[in-house]
């Protein structure tokens, strides 16, 4: 894990850029996670003092939203859709396959730090279920075989 000192400059810069924005907490958290990959727990104090909130309030917001994370992700984040349409096209088998080949469960990262696995509830790609995303790319009609070849492709990248 990185030392917060090296990250703090980024956090302060993001806080500064949002100073006048109404309802700025979510945009700030997005900004931090987009840049650092996660929201370092040590950043909570800086965020709280900048927005005049208690640290508990900031922490409460971070933990409420599934998307925010407080640990660094792997190099690539794989999200598998668990919602109904994907289930109707056997996403359960895909989930099991993914967990098995990655050797991890949801909310975990592979030992080599290559992949993090997260569940997601609908990607709006239900016309081509089952769907997954890897980073910002969506893939539809994902069979276990297709999953393997995608992993291989991203592993190199």
């Amino acid at each position: 894990m990185q030392d917060y000192q090296t990250q703090q400059a980024t956090v302060l810069e993001i806080l500064d850029a949002h100073r006048t924005m109404p309802g700025s907490l979510l945009p700030i958290l997005h900004g931090i996670q987009d840049t650092l990959g996660y929201i370092p727990p040590a950043a909570v104090a800086d965020i709280a003092s900048s927005l005049n909130l208690s640290q508990a309030e900031v922490h409460g917001v971070i933990s409420f939203y599934h998307y925010f994370r407080d640990t660094p992700p792997g190099k690539h984040t794989v999200r598998i859709c668990r919602a109904e349409s994907c289930q109707s096209m056997n996403s359960t088998a895909l989930e099991n396959h993914a967990k098995q080949v990655l050797g991890i469960d949801y909310h975990e990262t592979t030992a080599d730090q290559a992949f993090s696995l997260e569940p997601v509830y609908c990607l709006g790609n239900c016309a081509c279920s089952p769907s997954i995303t890897i980073d910002d790319q969506v893939f539809g009609r994902v069979t276990p075989d297709k999953f393997d070849s995608l992993l291989a492709k991203f592993k190199g990248a």
Binding site: Y67, F68, S85, S88, M89
Partner: protein
């Protein structure tokens, strides 16, 4: 220069549209052919995506589904002249799936370049705003009221009434908030509008702002839609540059500012008051009503919260008049609904139709039955809080009241099809599990009841005190239905009870005893 159309819609991209577009650029350059590749939205016939259309003197000729490796042979066969090939589809607008739709809200989607303001203007864009700018605020609201438009986000509340409340509310600042949190499984019409015709949403929100005196708008967009965010921001920038957003819109003296805000993966933030909390930078806890958001909304100010499709339907209403829109539909369900066919269906896609066609027509005449070729057993309509409908209910017309009459919901118009391999007790369990995962935690029936619901279903399926636990499940559903503050806890019983009532055998129950 020949123009090719290849979609930038997420679903098309998920099937390889980007690679196909790149291959066309490469191969045509190699052959010294000059083409312009337009990245349009999707026509919504997803089993044909990636779809490639070429503009010819005889109209736009389509080919699909096209993969990267088909590109060489397509060009060889004369795609640029619209010639024959095994993937040749002809004019897509002649296919019954497209031809028999009533595309009002989706009129331009799949046809234009979504982020080209010029394309938008040439195709009747901003006519509604032009009319609105010549009207008094109350007259704009009256058009919306006359159209019979009801909120497309689920609750089907009359849009005109909501607007009128905000119009009459007093406040130094008012807001227009677009609910683009579309988290329901099987729904993607909001996404398709935002990716395929973002200007129509921007125009609808601008009209709303002018109608009620709101100068600031926010689009609360779910984080799972990165492509929609790009398209919206590109279109917003173009609108600002050309005087369609900002101060003094088109010389009218009116002001409207617009910004996209990202959600963070919480389903409950689609509930309107939770959404407002989230926009204010808080946990998405549902607020008690009253006060209504129309009176005390975002930052405590009068606020319109409307769904994407509701707002995107406004430009055509202001362009052609409320009566024109109202002439589509049946009963108290007026206008059109973009229906979304998803799950185990042969021809998945978006089908915009006037209210009134039956579920069966949609599933079989257009959807083509299941993708697996097995019998369709159940269809969940209206997202994760919607009921599972058995075959005996497929003749129900798509109309808010007809659905309500049988304990179902039309909601956002999403249909998730399941074949006979789906176990409905599993789906009922999942519905409870989803509620555990997504409950905002404010009320006990929803927060605790859903956890208990999972356990009770497990016991029923495991054959532990079956009769007693079935009764307990019904009791629990009743408590959730009556004791929850919002529809998250209040409607989770819909999928659960419908599964139990229509598919008792999946719970190991005798039909008569269920």
């Amino acid at each position: 220069m020949t123009r090719l159309f290849i979609s930038r819609d997420s679903t098309a991209l998920s099937l390889g549209a980007e690679q196909v577009a790149n291959a066309f650029a490469q191969h045509t350059a190699d052959r010294g052919q000059s083409v312009q590749i337009v990245r349009n939205g999707s026509r919504g016939l997803f089993w044909l995506e990636p779809l490639v259309e070429v503009e010819t003197p005889n109209g736009r000729i389509a080919y699909g589904p096209v993969q990267e490796e088909d590109v060489a042979s397509l060009l060889e066969a004369g795609l640029l002249e619209g010639k024959s090939h095994p993937l040749y589809l002809g004019n897509i607008e002649e296919l019954p799936y497209f031809k028999n739709q009533n595309r009002l809200t989706f009129a331009r989607v799949g046809i234009t370049d979504p982020v080209s303001l010029e394309d938008y203007l040439v195709n009747d864009g901003y006519k509604g705003l032009k009319n609105a700018l010549a009207l008094q605020p109350a007259e704009i609201v009256k058009h919306v009221t006359d159209s019979g438009l009801r909120g497309r986000g689920g609750a089907a509340f009359p849009t005109g009434i909501k607007w009128n409340t905000v119009l009459n509310a007093t406040g130094d600042q008012k807001y227009i908030v677009c609910n683009a949190d579309e988290g329901d499984s099987g729904t993607f019409s909001d996404r398709m509008i935002m990716e395929g015709d973002p200007f129509v949403l921007i125009e609808g929100m601008t009209i709303a702002g002018i109608a009620v005196g709101a100068t600031q708008g926010y689009i609360y967009l779910r984080v799972e839609y990165p492509h929609a965010k790009i398209a919206l921001n590109q279109a917003i920038e173009a609108a600002y540059k050309n005087g369609y957003l900002g101060e003094n819109i088109q010389g009218s003296g009116k002001t409207f500012h617009l910004e996209v805000r990202s959600g963070a993966g919480a389903y409950v933030c689609g509930e309107e008051t939770s959404l407002l909390e989230s926009l204010e930078g808080k946990r998405g806890l549902v607020r008690f009503k009253p006060p209504l958001p129309a009176i005390v909304g975002l930052f405590g100010k009068p606020t319109i919260v409307n769904n994407v499709i509701s707002l995107a339907s406004v430009p055509i209403i202001l362009d052609k008049g409320g009566e024109y829109y109202k002439n589509y539909g049946m009963g108290r369900s007026r206008g059109t609904l973009p229906l979304q066919l998803a799950g185990n269906i042969k021809h998945p896609g978006l089908f915009e139709a006037a209210f009134g066609m039956t579920l069966r027509e949609l599933l079989y005449d257009y959807g083509g039955g299941s993708a697996s070729g097995r019998p369709i057993r159940a269809v969940q309509v209206g997202g994760p809080l919607g009921a599972y409908m058995p075959e005996s209910q497929f003749d129900t017309p798509l109309d808010y009241e007809a659905f309500a009459a049988i304990g179902a919901v039309l909601g956002h118009g999403g249909l998730v099809v399941h074949d006979d391999t789906t176990n409905l007790a599993d789906m009922a369990r999942y519905a409870m599990e989803f509620c555990v995962e997504e409950s905002c935690g404010k009320c006990t029936p929803c927060r605790i009841g859903s956890t208990r619901g999972v356990e009770v279903i497990d016991r029923i399926v495991a054959n532990v005190d079956k009769a007693k636990n079935t009764e307990l499940l019904r009791d629990l559903c009743d408590t959730m239905l009556c004791g929850s503050l919002c529809a998250m806890g209040g409607m989770t019983p819909y999928p659960v009870l419908s599964a139990l009532n229509h598919f008792p055998e999946d719970f190991g129950l005798h039909p008569a005893k269920a």
